[in-house]
Amino acid sequence: MKTPLLDVRHVEISYNGRPVVQDVSFQVEPGEILGIVGESGSGKSTLIKAAMGLLGIGGAVTKGDIYYNGRNVIDAKPDEIRRMRGPAMGMIFQDTGASLCPVRSIGDQLYESVNQHEKASREEVRQRALDLFEKMRLPDGDRILNSYPFELSGGMNQRVGILMAMVLRPKLLFADEPTSALDVTVQAQVVREMIQMREAYGTGIVIVTHNIGVVEYMADNIAVMYRGNLVEYGKKEDVIYHPREDYTKRLIGSVLRVNRG
């Protein structure tokens, strides 16, 4: 059997000894999009933070294992996981504007993050970024690279975040509520851009969101989290149209849909 890109096996995650995620298992294949949905506090973000080794002080995986391409990331030394973050596993945060340094230009920060992982000249990085901007159909790439985060709108910053994650061409991309802070028109563009990335590079994507509509549009598989447990996991069509668990039924039933007639 082929090794899955990401293999989460019976994972329990605790903060300060208190388990917040219990017995969660799922896999992501190359080029697959997995959507993790559930209400706030259900442990969605904690899961992807654990896979990235970003749980922070007090947080730890207390049971189970997480494998990236067959390599156990929980046992990995800090230095090793640091090298994996970026080229192997990329991450898009909910509020990219806040995760960027306010006093340095976008281009500078982009160069820094690439330079940590590979020898590349400023010009090469710039060219690669401009190519990506073009792929994302964003005009004015040069202006964006010379801008500071506060000079850009929320939507623009978010796309910079996607670009920063994509410029290292990760095999696996984690996206934590990437579109929640955006207007619907911008959200639609960002979602299409992420799908394009999958098509162009075969990136596996794990998207954490509470927006069922987005997941329905882009995901192949869906995992439903409720109070730290994985209550339902399966093909998108099965989960959305034939939910088995009560919570999933309630969740899907609460989604307001636009009736286009």
Partner: protein, 251 residues
Amino acid sequence: MEKLLEIKEIKKTFYKKKIPFVAVDNICFDVEKGECFGLVGESGCGKSTIAKIITHLITPDTGSVLLNGEETLFLRGKKERKLYQDIQMVFQTPQDSFDPRRTLGDGIMESMRNQGMKKHQAKERMYELLEMVELPGEFASRYPHEVSGGQCQRAAIARALAPNPQLMICDEATSALDVTVQAQIVELLNKLREEQGLSLLLICHDLALVQKLCDRVLVMYKGGGVEQGVPDEVIQNPQNEYTKILVDSVF
């Protein structure tokens, strides 16, 4: 139907380093008694500026705002204070809209106490209000950080109902909530509208919510109104280019 609120040709310009920025440009609409009117559009299109103009927090350059047929823009003193009671707001992040160091009960009672109501009367009314928003009475002694977002938003609605308002403005009141909780709040708003005859002005960017709750909707883009009508018609048969993009963007 009787008109509760009439907005006539309001315009508001902000200046940043003396460069004018027209936030609201020639907006007209009215809200009838017992109606739910929706205001949709992307961030920065002027929705919240309109709310601030209606609530008398900023003054428009031109135009007029009528409540029950009476011009509100130049009210002062007693009449202005009455206006502040008649129009109430519910905000996006409920936790931030309560004083973190005072209980929810205190927050709900504050406006009544300021009106000169006796403490025991205010308390009685506060418990009635909690019941109205389907919160157990014990929540009166809780602090904002001790309750969930949905519960806190219910308390915020109770607080808005305290001065017996004629119009409630919900500025993205459900956007920060989980979908299951959002559905409950929507149900509550609908109930209040039917039982209390409350008029609602719903500011939001969620077309599905507007379609479910609103009788009429105004779509805004860059400060101007681009389309107005019954939500079903606007969504199913958008006339304006921007409205089309907006409707197509919803998954």
